[in-house]
Amino acid sequence: MAYEGQERATGIATVPPVVGPGYTPRSVNEKISAIVLTHPTSRGWLVGFGISFLLLLLLLYSVVYLFAVGLGIWGINQPVGWGFDIINFVWWIGIGHAGTLISAILLLLRQEWRTSINRFAEAMTLFAVACAGIFPLIHLGRPWFFYWLLPYPNVMGMWPQFRSPLVWDVFAVSTYATVSLLFWYVGLIPDLAALRDRSRSRVGRVLYGMLAMGWRGSARHWARYQTAYLLLAGLATPLVVSVHTVVSFDFAVGIIPGWHATIFPPYFVAGAIFAGFAMVLLIAIPLRKFYQLEDFITLRHLDNMAKVLLATGLVVAYGYMMETFMAWYSGSPYEHYAVITNRMTGPYAPLYWGLILCNVVTPQLLWSRRARVNVPLLFGVALVVSVGMWLERFMIIVMSLHRDFLPSAWGMYYPTVWDYTTYIGTIGLFLSLLFLFVRFLPMISIFEMQELVAEEEHGAPRRAATETAPAAEAVRVSG
């Protein structure tokens, strides 16, 4: 209500629109569903998927070898017991934050520009969480006993240590994965019905039909759908914050200098959103180019995402600043050594300064509006930020562990080739899933885009996303 037309008012002249001109609800439906239904499989897709799939096989090989031989194939040892495995876990789970943030929080905040990016961002979230989930499991010495982490009455009379953040992690991540999946699937249902109705092959009709769960697009369906979607959004919102908060507890509850900092929870959450938005940009920019979606994922989207990137980047920089300042201010020699001396001048110092360059210096480019709408540059910044966030986790985990209180216990961490293959392998898993997703499911929410276009077309006031009733009923039902 109050927000209606805000976007039109704030910047007709300066801000690009959320949707390109000249679209009708029908043409939106045709354009998005055609990518899945009628376009032939392109050579680019085949090559991309092929490479990703090879990397996925590399992951399988690495994991099988790990199970056969044991954790000794990795670089972890005393004193660095957490290496690439946990770095990658935190990296992936961080990336997996943007999707739900975009879908749930921006929905509740009535930011309608989210409409064209939420679907693939949610998919990205799921795939990233899948990649993340692998690491803690394979990092267990005996991964076949992973279910011991779950509390259930058993003949051993044993319960998990509920005071350990590692157990909270199990709950946080599995809840997050479940709700994200549900949220994504519920959002897909009307579009799956659209694909069912437009599909010309029998297999397509049956498969999409089953997945659409009998959606007919009646007014009652839409009313219930809106309620369900809104409730799920409300449910998912606290999870966005809770998961990375719990991940930060994995470190901060420990009393190791470099880990035990009270700022960790908000700083981790900001870092997760930072990394997540960088990954959304890394995916959105090629997608809009290869599938000619510039009219749906406009410069407006890129500009807004770049702003989020800048804002969260500043929070992360604030985290670094406070950690460093307090390490000095505390007067504790251990804090000072771990957070200042060792990070800035120790054996891993180049990685620390690389991190500062990636996460603190580079994002400052985004203050400039021209940089925010310069697509190749933005892609570059997003890439640099992704690297930077990986380095940040390296700094937190390895640099804090490798030199603790007693110099006699110091050591170095060197990842082995298996650390790298496992990491690259999960990138393969992520990309494979992503390629399958863009090929078989609508990567942009058809019905929400139709709604947006219909409202532009009729000049009808945009109802707040949170209060929509099935107003644009006629235009939404496809076929």
């Binding site: 008012a9 009393i255 504790s332």
Partner: protein, 394 residues
Amino acid sequence: MNTPEPVSLRLTFFQRRAWLVGVAGLLVGAMGLVLNPAQFFRSYLFAYLFWLSIAVGCAAIVMIYHLVGGAWGFVIRRILEAATRTLPVLAVLFIPLLFGLSFLYVWARPEAVAADPLLQHKSVYLNVPFFLLRAVLYFAVWIGIAHFLHKWSLAQDRTGDPTLARRLETLSGPGLVLYGGAVTFAAVDWAMSLDPHWFSTIYGILWIVGQVLTALAFAILVLRLLARQEPFVQVLTPSHFHDLGNLLLAFVMLWAYVSFAQFLLMWSGNLTEEIPWYIRRLHGGWQEVGIVLITYHFALPFVLLLIRRVKQSPLVLAALAAGVLVMRLIDVYWFIAPEFHPTVGGALHLSDALLLVGIGGVWVGRFVGQLQKLPMLPLRDPQEEAVVARPETA
């Protein structure tokens, strides 16, 4: 609505009352300076930090509004701007504290520093001249930001030049960064260094969130008090209060989140360098204050603000905001007073109330005066047409 309404005599009357009460409070409170100077400065610090948080928090909310827009901000924008215009007065009110530094801060007593190697280490940062220099810097940042926000807002009213909105937005991004830095280090200087051994990396965020929450509750309360007046009576709808209620809920949750984060990590770590802060606050009756905070600063407003009808009723929401303000006051007290007094009973002092009313009266007087200087709603905010649904005037 477009004539700058010389708002009712009631406001002017209220403003005079506030000044009178404020000056009286300060004068009577100043007697404490003779009777018990140490307690005078403790009470003064507490009262000062509470009123400061409204003014500084309002500046942050104005800048957030310029960055993200929205009807909620349009209707409270002038209230917020008026509150930021109190900052010069607050800068003057800061001066008395400078005479009590050695009463308040261990690090300002040379003999204490001489006996404590940790304080010697920190003396590069925690020393009186640098403390003063930083205070000047913080006020320069806040007053500078407030000045331009006000100046361009005024120009916008007069000319409606669209570049002004852009300029306000451009100021607000870096403005928020500077604001965050200034509040963080002000919190370290003025409150955290009361126990110079203790440190917490989240401390600045605790104050930032607390200040914004205080300011938001204050703005909601004032909006409700003015809701029957022109021009608000023509503009305000339940949806404005609904949005503000949602924001209040968000900051209540954020406050609980950062407070709990610090508590959990320090409690579980149980390190000798960190835990004393909580030990002081979990004994001598302070733990009951903590429980009051959990219940009425978080749980009750949280539950109530989930209810749509609460947020859409201006009266109920304003009552809730008033409750949050009281809780903010108690929270600030819980941050400051246990540093000096092991028990609640020993802490409560008449001068707390006198100085709270004294500084508050002067502050409110200034605020109401500033509020009357400009039209209560921006006249040419580019968001106006879009965000304000006006039933009567087209």
